[in-house]
Symmetry: C2
Subunit: 240 residues, 2 copies
């Protein structure tokens, strides 16, 4: 099975959560938006429009697996999990993994809204005052609450603090890794301040980065750099 990932080119964005699963799972895949030979951006746009068929995606990322087309990061990962060995087989653990993924998705959405609090379609520069207000709460309350929650989950995992679920890597671990990477990029001072309270979260992120397939991916040109066009943006004024 050759998987096709459809996502905007040039940014990690929400596509990154899918890429990390495909990479760690050793999947055969093509990153369509970043591969002109596979169709590039026009193919992504076509899938959102006329190519969407009777079950159209609302927004990227979208995964095509043969005749199946799946959108929404959490749904894609739920689909890929068992196929790539990135989730436990028993339904309880699988649902718990998914629940954690949905909470990561909520954090990621808030990380985006910090720089776009009043206009998803408008520029950051046109909503800077509002972003300054929102960033304060995000830094002082929301990041500590979310990452503190994952710290608590790791500390309370009866199978050890190395993974969110059970004793093995899951797609939620990969997603938490990238979320920590993104937050560290966007809010380095905040993350530095919080570090002493997040030993297990930070250890998990480091352990994921050291996994052979992930470290090879991170060193490759398939890994796109975080920048100010994506979800996690570093605007120093938002992280004083």
């Amino acid at each position: 099975m050759r998987y096709e990932l459809f996502y905007w080119p040039d940014i990690p964005g929400r596509g990154e959560f899918v890429r990390l699963a495909l990479e760690e799972g050793g999947a055969d895949y093509v990153d369509v938006g970043n591969d002109p030979e596979a169709g590039g951006l026009p193919a992504v746009e076509a899938l959102l429009g006329e190519d969407g068929g009777a079950r159209p995606p609302f927004a990227p990322p979208v995964l095509r697996a043969g005749s199946q087309v799946i959108a929404q990061v959490a749904a894609i990962l739920q689909f890929l999990g068992p196929r790539l060995g990135l989730v436990a087989k028993n339904p309880r653990d699988a649902l718990w993994t998914h629940q954690l993924q949905l909470t990561i998705a909520d954090l990621v959405a808030e990380a985006h809204d910090v720089h776009h609090p009043v206009g998803i379609g408008a520029y950051y520069e046109d909503q800077k005052d509002e972003a300054l207000r929102r960033a304060e709460e995000f830094r002082t309350q929301r990041i500590p609450k979310f990452l503190g929650y994952f710290e608590r989950v790791l500390a309370g995992n009866p199978r050890g603090t190395g993974h969110l679920v059970g004793a093995r890597l899951s797609y939620a671990d990969l997603s938490l890794f990238h979320t920590v990477e993104g937050l560290r990029y966007a809010f380095p001072r905040t993350l530095d301040r919080l570090a002493p309270r997040l030993p297990h979260v930070l250890a998990l992120a480091e352990a994921v980065a050291r996994r052979p397939r992930i470290s090879a991916y991170l060193a490759s040109d398939r890994r796109l750099p975080l920048d100010e066009n994506g979800i996690f943006r570093h605007y120093p004024e938002l992280d004083p």
Copy 2:
């Protein structure tokens, strides 16, 4: 199986998406937050704290089903769907239903953020100017985009326009119904203007309201009224 729903009392909130599934499914359930005899608000707060155990919920709603505790609306509905006959059995249709539910969740989150664009923990009155800005985009771009998407899905359903997935009711239909109700409450003028472009969405919402169990529920005192403490709030200045 007696299900226990843990959610803040007195508002429909995100708990409503779970209530509608439990009601339509004819489930035996207790709405703990609204039932002092079942523990009321203290029981909800305890579950978010010390009672959370090794797999704690991040936020309500939470469903307890025997020894299993599940948070996140979409995860709860994915769990309840097959148990209450509210989702197709085949995995493709079930995943498509879930994907639609996640898109509804995105719309609901944006509907909330309209009145809380810069501070989730602050009062609306303290972020009114920002809310006015955000509401304009929500009214003119986001509501049309989201509801237009569901209109397209219904119009393109090869099994008929009466349901989002296949030829039978699913939990996504119930959730779309409540989302339309909420948007109609919060943005009545906007919904009136959009109505001619949303025939299938509005017909689905009406059909859900007429279902025997749902109409009995809507007429009961278990159905909590929408008000300005919930997700969908009617501030006339945001819907000119």
